[in-house]
């Protein structure tokens, strides 16, 4: 489980996160939603130890991220940032294999090879496995990076807008995959999403952020309320039940 306790983060004196406290139990898919500039990506970065909070702390299974060894954390927590502008010319297979680095430290065993093959298969990357990343489209590159995170095989996975650049078929496939990982394998997955309906349809919990604070969090049914969402996004939003789902219309 992951605990965020009183986290603050400022850029040039401007608060990007204030008093963020969040406790996510083990297992389950959590979506962070909110308007631009809400602090979603910053929160994910702090949870993934890419940024140090100015106050407060983040613990993973009781282990303080600020003090734990980078290697150890990398075996328990994987994260994918939004902008994967990798300048390096790596093949897809090499990139995915690097997901095993925290485990293998450069000496991959049969388990590592199996995980890489599995991740490539799940994301349908086998035909592209020997291509260089700079020869792929944005969506293919995104899938390659997600495969890398899967190969890392950690209990906790943080994904910043993983559905960016993906067409509907791949977006649905990846959110379903992530949900299965969370439910069947008991992984704790946190995703930043822009699509409220995607979050409502697939996630166990939604965290709504605005202005660097968490406004509310809970199961989708509790948060899919027209008034609340309209206020959050400062846009008229209505919520309807459609094919057994709550759908926001804007």
């Amino acid at each position: 489980m992951i605990e965020v306790e009183g986290v603050e983060r400022r850029y040039d004196g401007l608060a990007v996160l204030s008093e963020v406290t969040l406790s996510l139990p083990r297992g389950g898919l959590t979506a962070i939603i909110g308007p631009n500039g809400a602090g979603k990506s910053t929160l994910l970065s702090v949870m993934g130890r890419l940024q140090k909070p100015d106050a407060g702390r983040v613990t993973l299974e009781g282990m303080d991220l600020a003090q734990a060894s980078g290697r150890l954390v990398a075996r328990k927590l994987a994260l994918l940032r939004q902008d994967n502008h990798t300048a390096a010319r790596l093949t897809v297979r090499d990139l995915v294999a690097f997901g095993r680095y925290p485990h293998s430290r450069g000496n991959p065993g049969p388990e590592d090879h199996a995980q890489v093959a599995r991740a490539l298969a799940i994301l349908g990357l086998e035909p592209l496995a020997d291509r260089f990343l700079d020869q792929l489209s944005g969506g293919q590159r995104q899938r390659a990076h997600i495969a890398m995170v899967l190969a890392q095989d950690t209990e906790c996975i943080l994904l910043d807008e993983p559905l960016n650049n993906l067409d509907i078929s791949h977006a649905v496939r990846i959110i379903t995959l992530v949900r299965e990982a969370a439910q069947a394998l008991g992984k704790t997955v946190v995703v930043v999403l822009h699509d409220i309906n995607m979050a409502a349809a697939h996630c166990d919990r939604i965290v709504v952020m605005k202005g660097g604070r968490i406004l509310r969090h809970g199961p989708p049914a509790e948060l899919m309320q027209a008034e609340f969402l309209s206020a959050v996004y400062e846009t008229p939003i209505s919520v309807h039940e459609l094919a057994g789902r709550l759908v926001a219309v804007y």
Binding site: G70, R81, A87, A88, Y101
Partner: protein
């Protein structure tokens, strides 16, 4: 938002070319090494050596001059190609190498100051000072880089060349005021004709540094994917970056102190290898090292042959080959986002 790119037809999978590159580089290195042993003013040939049976003028030339020179060429070529490779990966820019980011010029400044202030310093200590200055110069470059908005990947080497120019100007000024200009020119132009037994052995440090780089190859590759990716995979990004920059400074300093400045090599070799094989250091490292050695030996042999019985310094041949290759790379690598 990255635009969807259509794969270039000219560069597909790392196919047969990538697999053939290692044996090719190895073969070229061995061939150039052999040629380097037997090309020169005094005649040394396998037949002659055999006839002398172990003692004689040809054997003497081979052991005191040709063999040291060939080893020095191979080691210097390895070191410079490796320094360029590590720098390109860590700075995440294709167009950098020690002589385009201020490392080389700073190291030269260090050597000049040693010659002025402590001329009696032994060569290893001189190298240490050069490496220290080189590291400081690279550090300064990275500091400047952080403050300048980079709209184009070409800005990076441009800034580096400007910085190199400034440091080079300081060096020239000091040399001019202290009447050292001529000797500065003499040792800073790369030249292997001065290499004799007993005067190049410091270059063996390159072999050691190559091993260190090989041990950290994966971590350097990961550091090259950017800070976030590196941390995510449990690599100490700051430490690996620092280690890499120290390696680059030591490699450059070792070559400058023993044979002088050899430009462009660190730029051309890693780039060509990257185009064919990609950037997984664990795979490209041996090819980069061998190709660097082969290219330096080839340029030196050409320099020995063109104006026989005189010699052209390698700085000149490499300058011609290298600048042409650099221009080609500039046009070629645009599409790869540098």
């Amino acid at each position: 938002m990255p635009e969807p790119q259509t794969p270039r037809p000219s560069s597909r999978q790392p196919g047969p070319a990538a697999r053939l590159l290692f044996p090719l580089a190895l073969g070229l290195t061995l061939a150039m090494g052999l040629a380097s042993l037997f090309v020169g003013v005094s005649s040394v040939s396998p037949g002659l050596l055999w006839a002398e049976g172990g003692t004689g003028p040809a054997t003497e030339v081979l052991l005191t001059s040709r063999l040291p020179r060939t080893l020095a060429l191979a080691l210097a070529g390895t070191g410079l190609a490796l320094a360029g490779l590590v720098l390109q990966v860590l700075v995440r820019n294709r167009f950098v190498e020690p002589s385009t980011v201020g490392t080389t010029e700073s190291a030269s400044l260090g050597i000049l100051l040693v010659m002025l202030l402590a001329p009696g310093l032994p060569v290893p200590a001189r190298m240490a000072v050069a490496a220290g200055f080189g590291l400081a110069g690279t550090g300064l470059f990275l500091l400047v880089l952080r403050r300048v908005p980079q709209r184009s990947p070409l800005m990076v080497p441009l800034i580096g060349l400007l910085l190199s120019g400034v440091i080079g100007a300081v060096t020239t000024f000091i040399a001019y005021r202290t009447d050292m200009l001529q000797s500065l020119g003499a040792w800073s132009t790369g030249d292997f004709s001065i290499v004799l037994q007993g005067r190049y052995e410091l270059l063996w440090i390159v072999a050691g540094l190559t091993l260190v780089t090989a041990v950290f190859a994966d971590q350097i590759t990961l550091a090259g994917l950017g800070r976030d990716m590196a941390i995510g995979l449990g690599v100490n990004h700051g430490a690996i970056r620092a280690l890499g920059l120290v390696l680059v400074a030591l490699l450059s300093a070792a070559v400058i102190v023993t044979v002088g400045i050899v430009p462009f090599l660190g730029l051309v070799v890693p780039n060509v290898v990257s185009l064919i094989m990609g950037d997984n250091l664990r795979r490209t490292l041996p090819v980069v090292c061998l190709s660097g050695a082969a290219l330096v030996m080839a340029c030196d042999i050409v320099g020995r042959l063109v104006v026989r019985p005189y010699e052209m310094p390698i700085g000149l041949t490499m300058g011609i080959v290298g600048s042409a290759a650099f221009l080609w790379l500039l046009t070629r690598r645009r599409g790869h986002g540098a």
